[in-house]
């Protein structure tokens, strides 16, 4: 048995850890507490005074600002935030929560876990590359497309929060974000390198695949050169866009077929990720399209951008991808913010419908706004009635304007307060009461019904018939109903698609 080391954080909290390394990175060796509820990570080299100052701010000032506010506990699921600093035998270490169980592989890889990754951390790369998903991952680890959307919502929300606090992560990558596609969880880790603009500069330029073009282009300059671009909020925004693209489409947005330097592959790489970076789905410049004939069979259909274009992510995310990888690729100021991504992702969740092919590996897809909806992943056409609810909200009494927000109806789909009132957003600020369902949809005797559970104002506007709590209303084409009175109260107009 390894011995148990007892020590104290600088703030005086008693800490224990088992003196046996459970993991080791470039910078730190990691140890478990005896009950495995937290870890101690000791730096191999003593951080300099600036880095120690930064750790102090992260574990005190920023820790307080994040967790010591109403609803602060919400963030404990989204960040693995260092809680304290220890100093022992001249070494410096941080204390951080252990990762929850769902971030470790339960089944691992195929063929009885041939790669022996069961029990290892779910590094995002496993899920962000079509070949790894198709060839190696146990299907039970892959989750479905809706859970990938949920992972992206949480990731965007976590990055938004950091940016709102005036911080930049500086090294967002699939190594520094744990994901769980089986339940739709995401958690930002490795927070000890945070950048506080003007105060703590970055130690790293980032991880290949996620470094913003301007950082790649200027990486040959010295650190003090005025032209040198280092990680900051705008480079996080690039990394976030790349992560979301990869988690939804299983390919990299800039890794296409274009060759920039025939003789030197390193220069080719630097140009392709830097100065000459070009979106593989650029609307007019086709020169960096993935060459499907070069793709491995296990990369299809994802490598074929004509079969699975980015536009399958729907009307809210598609413009953001263009903004991130066309307009904002070389113009950092134009990149979508983490908040833009969060809002678009949340709305996209409402626009998702189940695929009727029970063998479809993705299981969910975004409604394509056509009269013959079709799953882009497996090609299955939707059969039967498909109600689409168009949401409008009141600005002033009796005047309703479209919200550019739709809710797809499927069996088991729920109605929540954030559908009922445009002033309520489904985010970390919701109270537990606000998270409760207020109604649901069900297909019964060849008709779609809305069942009212907690909507006191529900009224069929066309016939002026109130629907009491416990009552139900059939959804028909053109039906209009009001979900709530007053400011932000939503009006719904039903469209019936007959597949």
């Amino acid at each position: 048995m390894a011995k148990i080391v007892k020590c104290q954080t600088l703030a005086g909290q008693a800490i224990e850890y088992v003196d046996e390394i459970i993991g080791s990175g470039a910078m730190k060796d990691v140890y478990f507490s005896p009950d495995k509820s937290y870890v101690v990570a000791l730096y191999k080299a003593r951080p300099d005074s600036q880095a120690r100052e930064r750790l102090k701010s992260i574990t005190t000032t920023y820790w307080d600002r994040l967790f010591n506010e109403p609803g602060g506990d919400y963030w404990k699921n989204l960040f693995c935030w260092p809680e304290g600093i220890i100093e022992r035998n001249g070494l410096i270490g941080i204390v951080a929560p252990a990762y929850p169980k769902h971030f470790f592989f339960e089944h691992g890889s195929r063929n009885n876990d041939i790669l022996a990754i069961k029990g290892k951390e779910k590094e995002g790369k496993w899920f962000a590359a079509a070949n790894l998903r198709n060839r190696f991952m146990d299907r039970r680890e892959l989750g479905d497309w809706l859970n990938h959307l949920r992972m992206c919502v949480l990731l965007a929300r976590a990055v938004k929060k950091m940016h709102m606090m005036g911080l930049a992560h500086s090294d967002l990558s699939y190594k520094n974000v744990l994901v769980d596609p089986t339940q739709g969880h995401a958690c930002v880790i490795d927070i000890d390198g945070l950048v506080v603009p003007g105060k703590y500069p970055p130690d790293v330029v980032g991880t290949p695949d996620f470094i913003a073009p301007e950082v790649v282009m200027t990486s040959h300059l010295s650190r003090d050169d005025r032209g040198r671009k280092l990680p900051r909020r705008e480079t996080d925004q690039h990394a976030l866009a790349a992560l979301i693209y990869m988690y939804l489409l299983y390919r990299h947005p800039l890794r296409g077929g274009k060759v920039h330097d025939v003789d030197d592959e390193q220069r080719d790489e630097a140009l392709g990720m830097g100065e000459k970076a070009l979106f593989i789905e650029h609307p007019s410049d086709m020169s960096n399209r993935i060459r499907v004939e070069d793709a491995r069979p296990t990369e299809l259909p994802w490598a074929d951008t004509s079969q699975i274009p980015y536009t399958i992510t729907g009307p809210y995310l598609s413009p953001l991808f263009l903004q991130a990888f066309v307009g904002g690729l070389h113009d950092p100021g134009l990149r979508p913010s983490a908040n833009d991504w969060e809002t678009a992702l949340v709305k996209t969740v409402d626009l998702v419908q189940p695929c009727q092919n029970s063998a479809c590996p993705q299981k969910w897809y975004v409604f394509d706004n056509s009269i013959k909806p079709r799953c882009p992943f497996c090609g299955t056409l939707h059969k039967g009635k498909l109600p689409v609810l168009n949401l409008y909200s009141s600005r002033k009494e009796g005047n309703f304007r479209p919200d550019n927000h739709r809710l797809m109806v499927w069996t088991g789909q729920s109605l929540f307060l954030w559908h009922v009132n445009s002033r309520i957003a489904p985010n970390e600020k919701l109270t537990s009461d606000q998270k409760k369902r207020v109604g649901y949809f069900v297909f019964h005797h060849d008709a779609w019904w809305l069942v009212n559970e907690r909507l006191p104002d529900l009224i069929d506007v066309s016939t002026k018939t109130p629907i009491p709590i416990g009552g139900r209303m059939e959804l028909t084409d053109g039906l209009q109903f009001l979900l709530a009175k007053g400011d932000g109260g939503r009006l719904v107009v039903v469209q019936m698609v007959e597949g």
């Binding site: 790669l115 790369k125 790894l132 990558s173 970055p202 790293v204």
Partner: protein
């Protein structure tokens, strides 16, 4: 998709002095390294391995193979004999010229290959060894790393080949395992965070001393 291959060549001394514990440790270390790399999704997407052994002759023990498909039986060592390291370098040049894909206007070529050479002695074919070195330097390797294992290994010849030479005082399992861990970390380094002042290269394990 445009995934570049990362070719990794491992050149292993299988001369008679490697018999017994040393070659067992090499076999164990190699398998452990492959298992560790297969747990790295980045390596699994790009790394290709080839093994060249050398004793009285040099042979391709494993042709360039994707990491997940690498299978080989334990390496054997003949009774006694010479250390034809020069022949191994010539064979390496042939393999690299044949295997490594160059970029064309339309297709992305491979990453520059990594070479790891491990010996417990010195080249018996010194003339061929010295003849191969300029040829080798004409090829574009990302890095050549040589390891002088045990008390009889001669660093000075290796230093003619590359400035990155490490030594191992002992030839036991721990030392070889440390060496292969380092190889594995060097292969996987492309996927990790890059420092502001140049790429981070993993420090050699404690069992290995860097000769500068």
């Amino acid at each position: 998709m445009s995934i570049r291959r990362l070719p990794v060549y491992i050149l292993l001394d299988t001369s008679g002095s490697m018999r017994g514990e040393p070659i067992h440790s090499v076999n164990v270390g190699l398998q452990a390294m492959l298992s560790a790399l297969r747990q790295d999704p980045y390596a699994l997407e790009s790394v290709h391995f080839s093994i060249i052994t050398f004793d009285v002759q040099a042979r391709v023990y494993l042709p360039l193979t994707p990491l997940d498909q690498v299978r080989f039986a334990d390496i054997d060592v003949p009774q006694g004999g010479a250390t034809f390291m020069g022949a191994a370098l010539k064979l390496l040049i042939e393999c690299v010229d044949r295997d490594v894909r160059k970029s064309t206007v339309n297709t992305k070529g491979d990453w520059r290959p990594l070479v790891f050479l491990m010996t417990d002695g010195s080249p018996s074919d010194l003339y061929a060894f010295r003849e191969a070195i300029p040829e080798l330097k004409n090829r574009n390797f990302a890095s050549i790393l040589a390891c002088a294992a045990g008390p009889k290994a001669r660093q000075q010849h290796l230093l003619e080949l590359t400035d990155r030479v490490v030594t191992m005082d002992t030839m036991d399992a721990a030392a070889f395992s440390g060496f292969f861990k380092w190889v594995s970390a060097s292969v996987a380094v492309g996927s990790t965070s890059a420092g502001v002042s140049g790429a981070l290269s993993p420090p050699p394990p404690p069992e290995v001393q860097l000769v500068l």
